[in-house]
Symmetry: C2
Subunit: 220 residues, 2 copies
DNA sequence: GTAGGCATTATTGCATACATACCAGGATGG
DNA sequence: CCATCCTGGTATGTATGCAATAATGCCTAC
């Protein structure tokens, strides 16, 4: 619903933060890379101030790290940290899923449409767009819960682990992930909470294992 | 004018963020209050830029909220949100405590010293200083774990619920809280993990109930 | 040839200045 | 009398400029 000019009209810092977050998640900005303010400012055609604010926010979220008088760097990833993040995700997402309200037929239809779009993007090999759309879908599913604090935390944690996905080998993850999203939809349609939880846990654990494997293989 | 000590003293935005965070936790800045940039800038004798950056960071952490083109406000508190935060704290702190390494005699002595200091502050009625020192103690205990991501999340969540403490009636909380900290120390000394977990859970739950009571009584 | 020190350069951190959006209150017209 | 529009004031959002700090490369001495 297009409403008031709230969204993008002036919140440059916010949009830039999301852009950078996406680029990090996509692996365009790999871990350890220094994010220089002037460079980003020119890239987005703004001054350094909103860029700094965006970087500060991302630093608070843990996506980038800040060395005083040295700059901002994409946060390094260790397999150990990944395990911790997935552990918390398991716990928090469990709470979120336990509290979601079943979607109305209209909502369900919208979610199915999204899922189909995901599948199409995957089949056509548009991994970048797929990743973005995937995050959106997750957000919509979580937001079926009215427990806003829980949802907010779950989304933060998701963005922290999403960074890793670009490291996982695409061929393997694809087919099964699409399948898992279809399973989620079915669980939602059937209003089967136990199944929903199980699908999420299995999916998350599978991704985690692939990821940890990749990290360990790279000595991270 | 304070001279520039090198190292961290030049991180104005960071120090200001912590200052504001403390003031919010102490209840000096109550929920809903608008935090005006010029006012804060004058209060800390700096320009608006580091103030804005501090506020952005606090917004990312959830301590303040940001209305576009309207300003920053201390985050409102509802009993419902409090419950969600305590639920997550329960889960995350459980993980942290499960992963801490038992303190060395030296570390233990330092913790005992801190606890005694807390008790002294409480008895002399210096609630503000007590609250700050309490947070420090919690941080030191959490940091007995090497799982940095978990610790970081736990501390964030702690800062989010600490805001509420100033709403709870001081007389009740005091005596028992000091006692609970002594219990924590004993569990650490005895290296009794189950007991440690239990003490933390009981303490947290007790505070939560007091708090929820206060919030409900005020219609929040 | 290498290690160390000094000057240069580049980048961050903060302050100042300007542009823009929001809100309250009153004038105006129905 | 009420609704609408305008307008002044205030606070936020962004751009630019300057000072301080860390990185870099060169030069010199051994």
């Amino acid at each position: 619903m297009a409403k008031k000019n709230h969204d993008r009209s002036t919140d440059i810092a916010g949009t830039i933060a999301e852009k950078i977050s996406e680029l990090v998640a996509l692996g365009v900005y790999p871990p350890g890379l220094q994010l220089q303010q002037v460079e980003l400012a020119e890239k987005f055609s703004v001054s350094r101030v909103p860029v700094r604010e965006a970087l500060k926010r991302l630093a608070a979220e843990g996506i980038v790290e800040h060395d005083l008088n040295r700059g901002f760097f994409v946060a390094q990833l260790s397999s150990d940290e990944a395990r911790q993040l997935y552990r918390i995700r398991h716990l928090v997402e469990g709470e979120v899923l336990a509290s979601i309200e079943w979607p109305s037929p209209t909502q369900l239809a919208a979610l199915e449409k999204e899922t189909d779009r995901l599948e199409a993007l995957m089949k056509s090999g548009k991994h970048a767009q797929w990743a973005i759309a995937h995050r959106e879908l997750m957000r919509k599913i979580f937001e079926l819960s009215s427990q806003k604090v829980l949802v907010r935390e779950a989304l933060r944690l998701l963005s922290l682990t999403d960074r890793y996905r670009s490291l996982a080998p695409p061929p393997q993850r694809d087919a099964r992930n699409v399948a898992s999203e279809q399973h989620v939809l079915k669980a939602l349609a059937a209003r089967d909470r136990a199944r929903l939880l199980r699908v999420f846990d299995e999916d998350r654990t599978r991704i985690e294992e692939q990821l940890i494997g990749s990290l360990v293989a790279r000595g991270m």
